[in-house]
């Protein structure tokens, strides 16, 4: 009897030892990681690129190593790296590459995949973080909406303003002056709507509708001097595609104009050149403030001819000293002739490039699967698509880091509906690196969340917005009325 116990014990120990000593299986292919960080270019010192591997693996082991022999490892349900150590290894390898070796645990053994590279850019990304709106993507209604800021050097996200503080109102996009948190605005829509401008910590609530303009301010952009804003005025509609699974929503304008707003005395400066029967929208000032870019589409009968709505990229000169516009509108990209549509122009802050959305038609690329990011060289007028940044799904709502070496944008490539924020480097020749998805501590976050990320932007410093008093200010309906300069 005793011998049987000894035999059984020895057998069990043998099985255990054999299972422990099983060799790691080497696999030729690259690991299927989520998010796809294989071959991406990252700035040093951002949040670590935590990732996961397919569910069939119960555990993951990841080792990041550099050419000097430094290593950083992570092991667990997903590869979650220490923030400080990630900063150390990326900062020690600026302009160099990191090699990532990944192994997954399945059926009692480890399977090691072919290592992949992560490139650490020579350009730092020193901005504090990103701001964005979050809500459920879909149609006309959203139960929760908010503007948030996320520190891109770690995983901390904070609300700037949530809908719970102004119930029943919608919040527009957070629009900073060239990533500066010292001067920004956002629009509140609804019964107690207003444009909220915060400058040097003081905020005021504006009524931006006047008798001479068709709507309240919609899409806004700061003049680099901080003394002016360009707004579009739009009567926005949306309709719904009913036939197939390719597209759901179409947003269009019944009418739209572009105006300039002197924020020192809250007066509009109007010109008939930007208030024609055509559709003018999406204004943006050049870095020197002397040019106002905007998009313009020849008037068509909407919504019947919604698919014939094509926007050109145009510009007009603006002299802030005399507060006058040029006498003519220049067409920089004739998308109408190409049967395409240019929207959302965003000039780089070094004055070199202009990033825009390029879609088949319409003014709202987020709902257009084919929408891609293109770059206009403001020195020679040439354009090209950002091939490495684009995907077969829509890319839109893009902007530049304060040093103009990085861009962020939203893409629906993850699951075709929920937009996520991606960041890519732009080199001296205007080429984008493979973008990386804004890292989250738990990579499963993106699959679990029911929020879409909307209109992200970099912010140089942390936004200081005091929530105290917002409800009372919003619901008091006390507004500074914008007037028209005579």
């Amino acid at each position: 009897m005793m011998n049987r116990y000894i035999l059984a014990t020895l057998t069990a120990i043998s099985i255990f030892l054999v299972s422990c000593s099983r060799e790691t299986v080497l696999r030729e292919e690259l690991p299927q990681i989520f998010p796809d960080y294989i071959g991406v270019t990252v700035p040093a010192g951002t949040a670590p690129l935590n990732f996961d591997i397919p569910e069939e693996y119960s555990k993951v082991f990841a080792k990041v190593s550099d050419s000097r022999g430094n290593t950083l490892t992570a092991k667990g349900r997903y590869a979650g790296f220490n923030v400080g150590k990630w900063h150390e290894i990326t900062e020690a390898n600026v302009g160099d590459t990191l090699t990532v070796t990944v192994a997954g645990y399945k059926d009692g053994r480890w399977e090691q995949f072919r290592p992949f590279m992560i490139f650490v850019s020579e350009y730092p990304l020193e901005d504090y973080g990103v701001t964005y709106r979050k809500f459920a993507p879909g149609y006309e209604t959203y139960s929760k909406i908010g503007i948030y800021q996320r520190n891109i050097h770690n995983f901390k996200e904070e609300p700037i303003l949530e809908g719970s503080l102004v119930p029943g109102q919608c919040m527009g996009c957070h629009t900073a002056n060239a990533t500066s948190p010292e001067q920004f605005l956002f629009h509140v829509r609804g019964k107690h709507g207003a444009t909220v401008i915060q400058e040097d910590g003081r905020r005021r609530w504006l009524e931006t509708q006047t008798d001479s303009t068709i709507s309240r301010a919609v899409y806004s952009y700061w003049h680099p001097s901080g003394e002016y804003l360009a707004h579009s005025n739009n009567i926005i509609r949306q309709l719904f595609w009913t036939g197939n699974n390719e597209r759901y929503v179409e947003v269009y304008d019944d009418v739209s104009d572009v105006i300039v707003h002197d924020v020192r005395n809250d007066q509009y400066i109007l010109t008939p050149l930007l208030m024609t029967e055509d559709f003018e929208t999406y204004p943006a000032f050049s870095r020197d403030g002397k040019t106002l870019f905007f998009c313009s589409a020849p008037k068509v009968d909407v919504p019947a001819q919604a698919e014939d709505l094509h926007y050109n990229l145009c510009s007009i000169s603006f002299d802030k000293d005399t507060e006058t516009f040029g006498s003519q509108v220049d067409t920089l990209i004739d998308a109408v002739a190409a049967g395409k549509s240019v929207t959302f122009p965003r000039p780089s802050y070094d004055g070199r490039w202009l990033l825009y959305s390029y879609a088949d038609f319409g003014c709202f690329p987020i709902n257009h699967k084919e929408a891609d990011l293109w770059l206009l060289d403001l020195q020679d007028g040439s354009t090209h698509p950002l091939e490495r940044a684009n995907s077969s799904y829509c890319e839109s709502f893009h902007n530049w880091s304060s040093d103009s070496h990085w861009i962020l944008f939203t893409s629906r490539r993850g699951d075709s509906l929920y937009s996520r924020v991606y960041i890519a480097q732009i080199d001296e020749d205007g080429n984008a690196s493979k973008p990386f998805l804004l890292p989250q501590k738990d990579p499963g976050f993106y699959h679990k969340t029911l929020f879409t990320f909307n209109v992200p932007d970099f912010t140089k410093e942390k936004v200081d917005f005091k929530a105290r008093g917002v409800y009372e200010e919003a619901f008091s309906d006390q507004r500074v009325k914008v007037t028209v300069k005579q």
Binding site: S143, Q238, W241
Partner: protein
């Protein structure tokens, strides 16, 4: 009142509540259940606990999920109200006033006829009253102070029922500590983790009432009655006949229920739940007794007419024009419901998805809906957007009652063969639109005609087209065209 009579009266109360809810509020439990989606995840728990009253809300949602089986939901509500009553009785020093312990529960029962009242309020009150009962046995200003501070976080401002009770019992200067603490805890909470809520919401409770910034006076009255009643029983003279008080209470309850009873809302919810359960004959039986009095009710009745094969009986029922067949999109969490079901069965998948999505997102207290998330997953499977469908199914997989369904639906993900062999999915794919165009509600008749012309098997489209055409003749031309406003998604 002796112990036996106490138990008998409490049991009678529970049975009365159950019968009252089952007979007069059919569908109410299921309706509340479909307006939330309780998930067994750590993230879900943390999200609830991140605001004042989170624990009460978490418990309330945990209980509400059982209303997926409506009868079970009503039984649990009856038990909760009885627990509330028994807890109040435990705070009384004199058992001869036991009958008064029914006052607040009866008021609560009346209050809950309002569909916006959340179970969180009742759960928070029960927890606060249980603390009162504990305080009666073990008074102590220190633990009462700790309970006030923690209680505000865990159950919300209902904790002040307890604080008030403790103050009324102490009757000395120590109560100043509780009063100061109560003020401080509200202020500090508002300035720290509740910054994103207005004062009004913080003070009245974040999750006690579904509509933000709305504080019904009845909510405040119930809280005050609950807090003051124990002290009142201490000073009232001994009652001569407890049974008389009980009878008076039940008469009062009856009157309260009668005056708070909103027949039209009850009918709408009853119809909605019967549509959800595909009880077509039930809808028609109900409609024969009580004709629908709104477009929304009419949508349910007309759908039931077609589904039960009694389409020719349409003129027998009160009609509200074409809007009684399919409503235009309305931003609330009731109106789109039946129309989404109509679209689904017609094969207008994108419209069903849109109405389902907007219904879910119209839950102004930021909850999700099990019922509508299921429909959204089905629509995305039909649309071949499997990644989005998978997201919804994985979320539903963390629920109690949708888990099995979600697991089953996973077999359709990226599996065209499975979809083709499923009778519902294959039929809907065969009858849906073949070409893409912009939906336009005022031209619904044309859209229905296209649907039928593309697939003659779609007899539902033909019937709806005929009904639409017939009902349109009686409409005026000044109907508003609804297009909605974009919000930049």
């Amino acid at each position: 009142m002796n112990k036996t009579l106490q138990y008998i009266s409490s049991a009678a109360f529970a049975i009365a509540v159950l019968l009252f809810r089952l007979l007069l509020y059919p569908g109410a439990a299921g309706f509340q259940e479909q307006n939330q989606l309780f998930l067994f995840t750590w993230d879900y728990f943390l999200e609830r606990m991140s605001v004042s009253g989170g624990l009460a809300d978490y418990i309330a949602e945990f209980i509400t999920q059982f209303s997926y089986i409506p009868c079970l939901g009503e039984i649990l509500l009856a038990i909760l109200l009885t627990v509330f009553q028994r807890s109040i009785a435990m705070t009384f020093d004199r058992s001869e006033w036991y009958a008064l312990s029914f006052v607040a529960p009866v008021m609560m029962l009346v209050y809950m006829s309002d569909i916006y009242v959340m179970l969180s309020f009742l759960v928070a009150l029960i927890l606060a009253v249980l603390l009162c009962a504990l305080y009666r046995r073990r008074p102590g200003i220190i633990w009462a102070s700790v309970a006030t501070v923690l209680g505000f976080w865990l159950i919300g401002p209902a904790i002040f029922v307890f604080t008030l009770y403790a103050c009324l019992r102490e009757k000395n200067l120590k109560v100043l500590i509780l009063i100061v603490l109560s003020v401080l805890v509200v202020m500090v909470s508002r300035w720290t983790y509740l910054q994103q809520y207005p004062w009004k919401t913080v003070i009245s409770g974040i999750n006690y009432y579904r509509l933000p910034l709305t504080v019904p006076a009845f909510q405040l009255i119930i809280a005050i009655v609950t807090a003051f009643l124990p002290a009142l029983t201490g000073i009232l003279p001994t009652p001569k006949k407890s049974a008389g008080i009980l009878v008076g209470l039940f008469i009062g309850a009856g009157l309260g229920c009668y005056f708070s009873y909103q027949r039209d809302t009850v009918e709408l919810i009853a119809y909605d739940q019967m549509v959800r359960n595909e009880d077509w004959e039930g809808i028609l039986k109900r409609a024969e007794k009580y004709q629908p009095d709104s477009e929304l009710g009419s949508v349910s009745v007309n759908l039931a007419l077609f589904m039960s094969g009694r389409g020719s009986e349409l003129p027998r029922f009160k009609q509200f024009g074409t809007r009684g067949l399919i409503l235009p999109n309305i931003r609330d969490f009731i109106s789109n419901s039946s129309s989404s079901e109509v679209f689904w069965r017609l094969g207008m998948i994108n419209e069903s998805l849109r109405y389902a999505f907007d219904t879910q997102e119209s839950l102004v207290n930021n909850r999700k809906s099990g019922r509508w998330m299921c429909r959204m997953a089905e629509c995305q499977i039909l649309n071949g957007r499997y990644d989005v469908a998978e997201k919804y199914l994985d979320i539903l997989n963390h629920s109690l009652f949708y888990r099995k369904w979600a697991k089953n639906e996973r077999r359709y993900l990226r599996n065209e063969e499975a979809i083709a062999s499923d009778p519902v999915y294959s039929y809907l794919r065969s009858v849906r639109y073949k070409n893409d165009f912009l939906y336009y509600y005022p031209e619904m008749d044309k859209m229905l005609a296209i649907l039928y012309s593309q697939n003659k098997n779609n007899v539902m489209a033909a019937w709806y087209y005929q009904a639409w055409t017939a009902l349109k003749k009686y409409e005026t031309d000044d109907e508003q065209i609804y297009t909605g406003n974009a919000h930049g998604n």
